[in-house]
Symmetry: D2
Subunit: 379 residues, 4 copies
Amino acid sequence: MEKIAYGMIGGGPGAFIGDVHRKAIRIDGLAQLKAGCFSRDAAKSKAFGAELGVAEDRLYTDYQQMAKAEAKRSDGIKFAVCVTPNASHYEICKAFLSEGIHVVCDKPLTWTIEQSQELADICKKKGLLFAVTYTYTGYPAVKQMRKMVKDGMLGNIRFVNAEYPQDWLANPVDEHSSIAPWRMDPKVSGISNCLGDIGSHIENMVATVTGLKIKRVCARLDSLVEGRTLDDNASVMVEYEGGAKGLYWSSQIAFGYDNALRIRVFGEKGGLEWAQEDPDHFYFTPKDSPKQKWSRGRDQFAPEAQQYSRVPSGHPEGLFEAFANIYKPFVLALAKQMKGEKLSASDLDFPSVEMGLEGVIFINKCVQSSKSGSVWVNV
Amino acid sequence: MEKIAYGMIGGGPGAFIGDVHRKAIRIDGLAQLKAGCFSRDAAKSKAFGAELGVAEDRLYTDYQQMAKAEAKRSDGIKFAVCVTPNASHYEICKAFLSEGIHVVCDKPLTWTIEQSQELADICKKKGLLFAVTYTYTGYPAVKQMRKMVKDGMLGNIRFVNAEYPQDWLANPVDEHSSIAPWRMDPKVSGISNCLGDIGSHIENMVATVTGLKIKRVCARLDSLVEGRTLDDNASVMVEYEGGAKGLYWSSQIAFGYDNALRIRVFGEKGGLEWAQEDPDHFYFTPKDSPKQKWSRGRDQFAPEAQQYSRVPSGHPEGLFEAFANIYKPFVLALAKQMKGEKLSASDLDFPSVEMGLEGVIFINKCVQSSKSGSVWVNV
Amino acid sequence: MEKIAYGMIGGGPGAFIGDVHRKAIRIDGLAQLKAGCFSRDAAKSKAFGAELGVAEDRLYTDYQQMAKAEAKRSDGIKFAVCVTPNASHYEICKAFLSEGIHVVCDKPLTWTIEQSQELADICKKKGLLFAVTYTYTGYPAVKQMRKMVKDGMLGNIRFVNAEYPQDWLANPVDEHSSIAPWRMDPKVSGISNCLGDIGSHIENMVATVTGLKIKRVCARLDSLVEGRTLDDNASVMVEYEGGAKGLYWSSQIAFGYDNALRIRVFGEKGGLEWAQEDPDHFYFTPKDSPKQKWSRGRDQFAPEAQQYSRVPSGHPEGLFEAFANIYKPFVLALAKQMKGEKLSASDLDFPSVEMGLEGVIFINKCVQSSKSGSVWVNV
Amino acid sequence: MEKIAYGMIGGGPGAFIGDVHRKAIRIDGLAQLKAGCFSRDAAKSKAFGAELGVAEDRLYTDYQQMAKAEAKRSDGIKFAVCVTPNASHYEICKAFLSEGIHVVCDKPLTWTIEQSQELADICKKKGLLFAVTYTYTGYPAVKQMRKMVKDGMLGNIRFVNAEYPQDWLANPVDEHSSIAPWRMDPKVSGISNCLGDIGSHIENMVATVTGLKIKRVCARLDSLVEGRTLDDNASVMVEYEGGAKGLYWSSQIAFGYDNALRIRVFGEKGGLEWAQEDPDHFYFTPKDSPKQKWSRGRDQFAPEAQQYSRVPSGHPEGLFEAFANIYKPFVLALAKQMKGEKLSASDLDFPSVEMGLEGVIFINKCVQSSKSGSVWVNV
């Protein structure tokens, strides 16, 4: 298969996440960076583009211009990767979609529900593919748990406990310092910091694994470090359609925790447990039986999950591979569509624009609940 | 020191927890069972008392009679251990306190706040000792964490996450079966099952370790197994005096969990973590430093904690020793008081009747919050 | 059942292990301390005996005298507990056995193979019961693993890896200090320190769980801390009868380890793993299946193991209970024998004098191998 | 920096490890695949080369021809990656080195000691770079531990316990099946299977972390699964220069273990512990202090280690990144040398041909020891 051309918006010199996207895409070698809008500074952009091997005439300082120019080229990019701060996602995604270019965008997708809804509508109308990089759902263990729930191995789900503690904002930092330049600034991060950044990963992970739809939320967003305007800790009581219940906790002040997303799902017939920091394993307790440790790459993994595993069991896979597992099905689906073939549900095995929308709804409703004194808010 | 005579109410043939109390008391050999009201059936009581070495004339079928008779004897029991179902705690404790006999009672202390308040008032007025067997606070690791918080090693506490998942009620059992005879019966268990039974352990553990006072709660009690009238799962958002926040989860439907009480405390200067199923260890993460695993019996434990350790590090101590660590300071304080010496705060190193009262308040306020649709209720 | 009278030799004021024995025996309350030879100093002995509730006329300063006097009494002790340093085990045990008194003795049983053989012979000849306190085999999880191996759930055993790292002798201590008064002194500890003290626990644990008999050993005993004459670290390659192989490591210089006895058994059909510091759980990996975590007190435990469990799963049991699980079957067997009933193999569910002998053989052969430059030595 | 051209020998369609090498190299994008000898079948090679984007005229069916042709081209490959079965390493490496082309080769390097020595000699004489892909030493945690030992944080090393259990050969497989085509065949795997394949990783990991040189070994290689001619389990007692001791265990029949390389190092001042299946963390116990859990990406990591970390702490890195950490310094050193700059020791931060030689010596001496009945053999 020929490599599919893609462009990147954001991810310039020093930007962490853009580099991760590029490295992750390179692992499978299915797509190639051919254009970019890395900086508004032309000289910087040029130097950086050269380093990445992007032709000079495809380095842009304006994403609108980039969308238009690339759409016109016969060898133009087929999809755009948007890795800018949250505030600009909506405008950038819209620009490329409008030109018929498929999009991959970081989460949270947009600030407002309406913006995300609009992006979803455009995709539907134009038949464009859109992936939101909820990275952690790319792990094979997550795919396997999703399948087990779907296959009824847990029976009806009763309760979900999910958490995401970190400690990197536990110390009072200058909120405009280089460490957390925009996260704590409402002008850039919007209405929420902690819940928006990592709480939304919880929401998406639970939705992915269980398929449950949130009916209403009762949330409390806390600013626990002095002098902080946005939240750095959040508790959410959740009620799902059908009667199951959930409890989510995200925090950035939890000393002793790096990036500890963890999900526990309890059903009528058993329980599941997975932690992002040990992504190759998960624990399954069938009713009235000992707890089992499942290991990625072993026979028990179903083909739907195992296809995302690149090395044998016991050979750790990590974040890059999880990222690559968002891009791999996205690029393969795109290639298939470009050949005029019809895509099936299993082809679309990446977080969709609708999931991005659900995430934005979740954030907005939780903020609304918290601001109203932790009342229940329908979703 | 001569062994102090005690009596037991409840804990008859087949009763699990009474046997644990007796075994735990025997470990240190500071007190001796001399009287009992094990059963209302005289024949059963006689046989059982013989097995335990209790003299026939000190086996009672009525606790009121027992309290009166023992109070009159010159060699009468000095303290009564009440291990009956919750519903009868209040009357029994009151009977013995009224006769000037000190009391140890299981938790939750009583059904109503007023009852617990009354017991606390009697103790204060009469100068009687009263311990509530919140067993898990007896572990040396808990004592050590309490001291570290008190010494300011964590700075001001910001957030507490505590949980207590079990799975022994995950299957729909006949709620009047022999397995869970009274727990699911409102006539015996009162207004709550899960929160009352294990959620109250969370409340007490957090209070013990952090010293925080609860200001208000927002709770949701769930009955997740079909056909159940009382709760088997509970989520509580907590606000403490001084501004710290907390989140508690207790559950009896969490497949894969035996008895997994766990507490995580986060302050300005570090974090603490402890799990009841690995009671000899806890984890301390000082600000900007690696996580540390502390092991009971090592030099780092302070004397206040280490005094409750009976074997060297790496030689597991368990539930019996935790129980014994409630009884040991209780009996030693009693012996000291009997000698006419004045007791200091450090002598009273066991869960007090006031803590029992706080537990009953916590349960009642959470139930009230939940019944009102999870609104905030002041404590 | 009436409490059976026992006496103790050693275990005086400040002696750690004697106190543990007494506390462990008290848990079940099946036996009662009635006589003792706690110290050669009459005044000390008297004071200490009073504290323990032993009648003054049954406090001895000479164990020979004690054996004779107790044997003559109609209410004399039925068994003697020997908790003195290793050097005196043989003479003491022999004294009591000779008087027809049953014996419980610490390990390693004796210095020489001949001494242990002699004790075993006396027991056989006189029909006396003898238990060696290889404590760690008392855990219910060990009983369960033993049964699973016996039932063929692992198929033929292929390999055993067992280890016992500690760090309490990692620092160069004054070897005649109060911390390790006799362990490093060949006059008291004999030919080996580390291997004799903890390596012998490995040998017994493997023998208990697997039933394998050692055919030959190739050992290296190291003195890794400067100035030490006896070993503080030991590696042993083992060959069993039938062709299975093993590897044992014991160490007292392993910084970071408290008392980390751990055994892993691999057979044709699966593997087992257990660690003493988490005694309530073990791991079983059936061939081609995920690893399972078994938890003491759950349904899967067989009655042969579950009978030694005193509290439900998730309520930790520890060293005292493991000790109590040596004493419980010993005392029950003794009571049965005293009633004139015949004992079955399942009655004798405690480490036998023959196991004590095997331990002494193991130590002696390993020392011989090591001194000869780590050559293979037949057992 | 312009991408450096490399070629690959082996790693054709279906070959697992070649694909891993290519993916790992792509992560950093410092080198580009420009030539290959993937198969002796011209048609297969052509198809596969096309898929990988290699020009048709640089696809070879003979590695000798490839070495010569590439050496002549002005745009010829700068280094060759050899990922063929062990038997052919020597000839292939020699062919490229002889043409002045630098080499990266899988381990074990060659069959005989003389072959490895010869390769090392050529490199030295010609000033060529040579890396042996002992992958696991690429993890940042390993680099950090190496630095801590070097900096004296453990004091003199006393003992090393290292193990590498797997279970993928625990079942009796057809040894000529597609699963393990050559590993169990002495014609392909040479004198050892388990020790040669994974035992040599232990040897290299210990040498990397501690810097210790092996003085002599006493080994036992076992064939524990019926009908097997080569070893599937191996125990090695090691003595290092300077007096430290070690114990290595590798196994492929250990049910419950995927790829569990683990190393524990004990010195005068503390202990270190690391497991390959949790590569981002290691444990450090300083003398008389609690055990610490160090996490890659946190401040405590020194720059020498942290430079190999690509994502923040808590975002798992895995095998691909470990591989990339062999290639990154290799390619950067090569680029520096190509610019005529002198390389320092810190530039050569990858497993050298001398380490490859030491590995081959280790394997050969262990086999010799085992065949002689587990006698000590000098290295």
